[in-house]
């Protein structure tokens, strides 16, 4: 598993169900300075799709491809 860039913040959303992973992720990104890196750990299956899609739709970019880690996903998003 490659984590070449060190995240500035981590949002640990394990256990949380939709829609809270999306809400929390977008809010965290909104509160960070441009260029900072957010790591999101989530295990709600619905969020595997709506978190990355909504981050992109809201104009944020990904530092690397999402990582599937067992029953959870890791996302690396630039604010």
């Amino acid at each position: 598993m490659q984590t070449n860039t060190e995240a500035d913040f981590t949002l640990d959303l394990r256990g949380e169900s939709c829609p809270y992973p999306v809400i929390y992720t977008l809010e965290a990104l909104e509160g960070m300075s441009k260029g900072e890196l957010l790591q999101v750990i989530t295990d709600c299956p619905g969020s595997f799709r709506n978190v990355p899609e909504e981050a992109l739709a809201h104009g944020y970019t990904f530092a690397q491809d999402p990582v599937k880690n067992g029953q959870e996903y890791l996302f690396y998003i630039y604010a």
């Binding site: 981590t10 949380e16 169900s17 829609p19 809270y20 899609e53 809201h58 880690n69 029953q71 890791l74």
Partner: protein, 398 residues
């Protein structure tokens, strides 16, 4: 082969494809059985069964006389729809090795889920159907109550979304500085074997139903299984369809549902004309408006409706245990309140069963249904666009 297996089990399926298939299957199920894909009616019966066990004879309550409370859940086709959906979802979760006990960090979610579940269960049964019989499978039956329900549900979810955004409701997430380690992944994979065993056992039961002449039960079990597989793999969420439009301008699920309903309507229309079947019409009354609004509010509070809750529970999302319990309690309380607290007299009695096929003729019915779905689609796209316009303005100012 490996890539095919990966597409089926490792990825979630495209919601458009899933809802298209679900729309077709529900029309076929209606053609074969003259009943529709529904869940909350059976939830109400489960509540009645539990009351009977506790020594309360609910069978002579007016509501149970109307929906029927004969036999046990495994001798009712509607019951097998439910168990089939649970098994179908569970099998998919296990085969894709994605089961995990998921406990919400925010303990308030349990209370929100329980209360929301009660409100959603009560509202759904008051309106004679949840997101299925009064929505996804109600519109293709040309029952006017479904259209009233959709509008009322939209209003309810709007207020639910407002509530979701409040600080005391959503709670504070654990945002930490720096990077954190992900969970350790177990190297031994046993879930797919368990899933396979369950699938074989279930298929045996289905074969038994068909070979012993209990076709209605077999069909319920078969279609329930298919619906369970579909909603889990497609992560179909009617709650999200409305709520996420209001919350984050997300339109995928709403659009897919509308497309699925359009296809199902056309197919049901053809089936009704060819086989001369009577469409299933539910009463449209004040109760539909009140029930729909309560349902919309409840499903957002609970983070899932009666259908979405089923596969999430099978994924191991513990939050949906209180939601399930709440759904049954809410539906059963409605059955009690129906005659005992005068709900029927106040909200339902003045209503009427209206079907578009009778009211404005077959051509008018299909044309107006497709037209209304088109309007719904346009509204969805408009809401998504206006959300993103506002968001970009906000970002530019920042």
């Amino acid at each position: 082969m490996k890539t095919m297996l990966q597409t089926i089990f490792q990825r979630h399926w495209n919601p458009y494809v899933v809802l298209l298939i679900a729309g077709i299957l529900s029309a076929v199920y209606f053609g074969l059985t003259s009943t529709v894909w529904a869940v909350t009616g059976e939830f109400t019966r489960l509540g009645g069964d539990i009351l009977l066990l506790l020594g309360v004879n609910a069978a002579d309550w007016q509501y149970y006389e109307m929906v029927g409370l004969q036999g046990a859940t495994w001798s009712r086709p509607d019951g097998w729809i439910i168990w089939g959906m649970f098994i179908g979802a569970l099998t998919m979760v296990l085969l894709s090795n994605s089961f995990k006990i998921r406990l919400p960090q925010q303990k308030r979610r349990y209370v929100q889920g329980f209360v929301g579940g009660i409100i959603a269960g009560f509202g759904a049964r008051l309106a004679m159907g949840c997101n299925l019989a009064a929505f996804f499978t109600g519109v293709p039956q040309f029952s006017v109550h479904a259209w009233i329900f959709i509008v009322a549900t939209g209003v309810g979810t709007f207020f639910g979304a407002k509530l979701t955004k409040m600080r005391w409701w959503k709670g504070k997430p654990s945002l930490m500085r720096g990077a954190a380690k992900p969970s350790k992944v177990k190297t031994r994979v046993i879930q797919p074997y368990v899933g396979g065993a369950i699938a074989i056992a279930y298929v045996s039961v289905m074969i038994y139903f068909f070979t012993s002449g209990q076709t209605a039960l077999g069909l319920g079990a078969l279609f329930g299984l298919a619906f369970g597989i579909l909603i889990e793999r497609g992560q179909i969420c009617f709650t999200a369809a409305f709520r996420d439009l209001f919350l984050v301008g997300r339109s995928l699920m709403a659009k897919a549902i509308i497309v699925g309903m359009a296809v199902s309507s056309v197919l049901t229309f053809i089936i009704i004309s060819i086989y001369d079947l009577t469409p299933i019409t539910q009463i449209a009354a004040l109760s539909t408006v009140v029930g729909g609004a309560l349902f919309g509010l409840g499903i957002v509070m609970a983070s899932g409706c009666e259908t979405g809750m089923m596969y999430r529970l099978m994924e191991g999302q513990v939050l949906f245990l209180p939601v399930f319990a709440g759904n049954i309690i809410g539906a059963t309380f409605l059955a009690y309140a129906w005659d005992h607290l005068g709900i029927y007299n106040v909200l339902v009695k003045s209503g009427a069963k209206i079907n578009l096929l009778d009211a404005i003729g077959p051509v008018g019915a299909i044309v107006s249904t497709l037209l209304m779905l088109g309007v719904l689609y346009a509204l969805t796209v408009y809401r998504e666009k206006s959300y993103h316009r506002h968001f970009e303005l906000k970002r530019a100012v920042k």
